[in-house]
């Protein structure tokens, strides 16, 4: 397993947000985490990327324990996290936002090539490369956030609700991009409210309910699971 989360508990000021979450991510494909508001999806990603510290449990990446490391060292190991709400740097240009994603890299020539690759993948960003990120539309900001994460050259990409607040056309566009990224060999952990979309894209799925995993299994199976259909697919 590329990523192995074992029985992780997270508390915010003594209140439990995760009550023993375990999940595995293989080195290819998409694993999705779905669940209602407040179920602990973002907290799970934040504990993987080191933004919050588990109060107990272990997180292993490529066989090494990472749950005690500060966020900047976890990025260095190859985990890129696109946080909920995109969180682009509003007063940096599109290009500066992308370049700062490569903050820890020193291979200048390869960075230039990667920037060009990102601009090929997101032509809308190329037209707006000198524009302040704050002036972009939501969908464009999501592209910047994803591009910025790719600039670190990740071995694993964590995406927190990339479809949030986007028009159906833009959601299609983003899912195409995610599928594309997986195609190039970077596995993705996809957190989504849009369970239909997530189960279509992913090969394996975890359903979080109030801080623990309620159901898990291959995405195709969960699509037909009665509980999942009733609670998350509106069927």
């Amino acid at each position: 397993m590329l990523l192995d989360v074992r029985d992780v508990h997270v508390h915010y000021h003594k209140v439990a947000a995760l009550k023993g979450v375990s999940l595995q991510v293989p080195s290819g494909g998409i694993v999705t985490i779905i669940g209602a508001n407040g179920a602990g999806k973002s907290t799970t990603l934040r504990s993987i990327s080191g933004l919050v510290r588990p109060s107990s449990g272990e997180i292993h990446f490529e066989g090494e324990r990472i749950d005690h490391l500060p966020a900047e060292q976890i990025v260095a190991r190859g985990i890129a996290h696109v946080p909920e709400g995109r969180r682009v740097f509003p007063d940096l240009s599109v290009e500066e936002n992308l370049r700062i994603g490569a903050f820890l890299r020193s291979d200048k020539a390869q960075i230039e090539r990667d920037i060009e690759r990102i601009f090929q993948r997101f032509p809308r960003l190329k037209e707006r490369r000198t524009q302040w990120a704050r002036t972009l539309s939501g969908g464009e900001q999501q592209m910047v956030a994803i591009g910025r994460a790719l600039m670190s050259g990740p071995k694993l990409l964590l995406l927190d609700e990339p479809s949030m607040g986007l028009s159906p056309v833009m959601v299609q566009e983003i899912s195409r991009i995610v599928a594309d990224i997986v195609e190039t060999g970077v596995p993705v952990v996809l957190v989504e409210q849009n369970a239909g979309l997530a189960l279509r894209l992913a090969s394996y799925a975890y359903v979080l309910e109030i801080g623990s995993v309620a159901v898990e299994g291959p995405a195709a199976e969960l699509k037909t699971n009665d509980h999942v259909r009733r609670a998350y697919l509106g069927a």
């Binding site: 990327s49 080191g50 933004l51 500060p70 966020a71 900047e72 990025v75 260095a76 890129a80 996290h81 946080p83 969180r87 682009v88 740097f89 509003p90 007063d91 940096l92 500066e96 370049r99 700062i100 994603g101 903050f103 820890l104 704050r134 910025r148 994460a149 670190s152």
Partner: protein, 288 residues
């Protein structure tokens, strides 16, 4: 009359310069760490005392004393970051209160080390530029030149260097910056060194002109707060523009009316700006 006007412009440029150094440092610290550093005036005072000690006391060259002042006060800033602001990072008011405590400590150290009286710093140069009936002493000119050089260097650092980007990114979104591999601790340390160092230089460069005392920080901190509010809290460009604006208004009113009215006009200027632009001239929004 035009000589008189030119003289006032010279005076205002001098005041704008060192106030800009102080205010920019204050904004940088606030931007990156989210802390309002009440001890900023005392960092300015510490810079002045570095010149009292190294230049007036030990007889080192003035520029060497200023450089030592920059490094010394910069290191004081890093110390504040390490022992005060870092442990209190999750406590929004903690840093502010700790900085008030630190301010009192610095004042006490200055009193114990140098006494209560104003210090005499021998003049660095007697020279002056004369244009018509107006003149600008070299000592004041040096302050203006130092400010332009340092702020240009800071601007280039923030725009062109990787660590400059890291600083700006941190000021805009600390958590997102951490996700790019930027170390918050390291960035905060840099910001404190630069911000405190700039206040130190302002104190050091003006030491021969102001007769340093342990309480000289009071006079600048209030002005610095007005300036960063007018400029838009968090905006470095705003701090520079507001320092110039404030210094010119204040100096002109002082010259043509008197100092008390100038202080009142300064506050009215702040109110007027806040009525028209609640986030200040360059402020776009609340910063985290």
């Amino acid at each position: 009359m035009s000589d008189f006007l030119l003289q006032t412009v010279f005076n205002a440029s001098y005041a704008a310069s060192y106030m800009a150094l102080i205010a920019v440092g204050l904004v940088l610290i606030f931007g990156v760490m989210g802390v309002i550093n009440f001890a900023h005036g005392e960092l300015y005072m510490a810079g002045a005392y570095a010149v009292v000690f190294f230049y007036a006391g030990l007889g080192l060259p003035f520029l060497a004393a200023v450089a030592l002042g920059l490094v010394f006060v910069g290191c004081l800033g890093m110390l504040m970051e390490l022992v005060l602001f870092r442990p209190l990072r999750t406590n929004p008011l903690g840093g502010l209160i700790a900085s008030i405590g630190f301010l009192l400590m610095l004042q006490t150290i200055a009193v114990l080390g140098f006494g209560l009286r104003n210090q005499n710093v021998p003049p660095v140069s007697q020279g002056r530029i004369t244009i018509g009936g107006a003149f600008l002493t070299y000592e004041r000119l040096y302050v203006i030149v130092a400010t332009v050089v340092l702020l240009t260097a800071l601007w280039l650092f923030l725009r062109r260097s990787k660590f400059g980007w890291a600083l700006r990114a941190c000021a805009q979104d600390r958590e997102a910056a951490a996700l790019q591999g930027i170390s918050i601790n390291q960035t905060a340390r840099y910001a404190m060194f630069i911000g405190a160092g700039l206040a130190g230089v302002a104190g050091a460069m003006t030491a021969p002109l102001v007769a340093p005392s342990p309480f000289m920080g009071h006079t600048v901190i209030v002005t610095a707060f007005i300036i960063i509010i007018v400029g838009g809290i968090g905006s470095l460009e705003g701090a520079v523009v507001a320092a110039i604006l404030y210094a010119f208004v204040h100096t002109f009113v002082t010259t043509f009316y008197d100092g008390v009215i100038a202080n009142i006009v300064g506050l009215l200027l702040m109110l007027a700006v806040l009525v028209v632009k609640p986030h200040g001239l360059f402020g776009v929004r609340e910063r985290a």
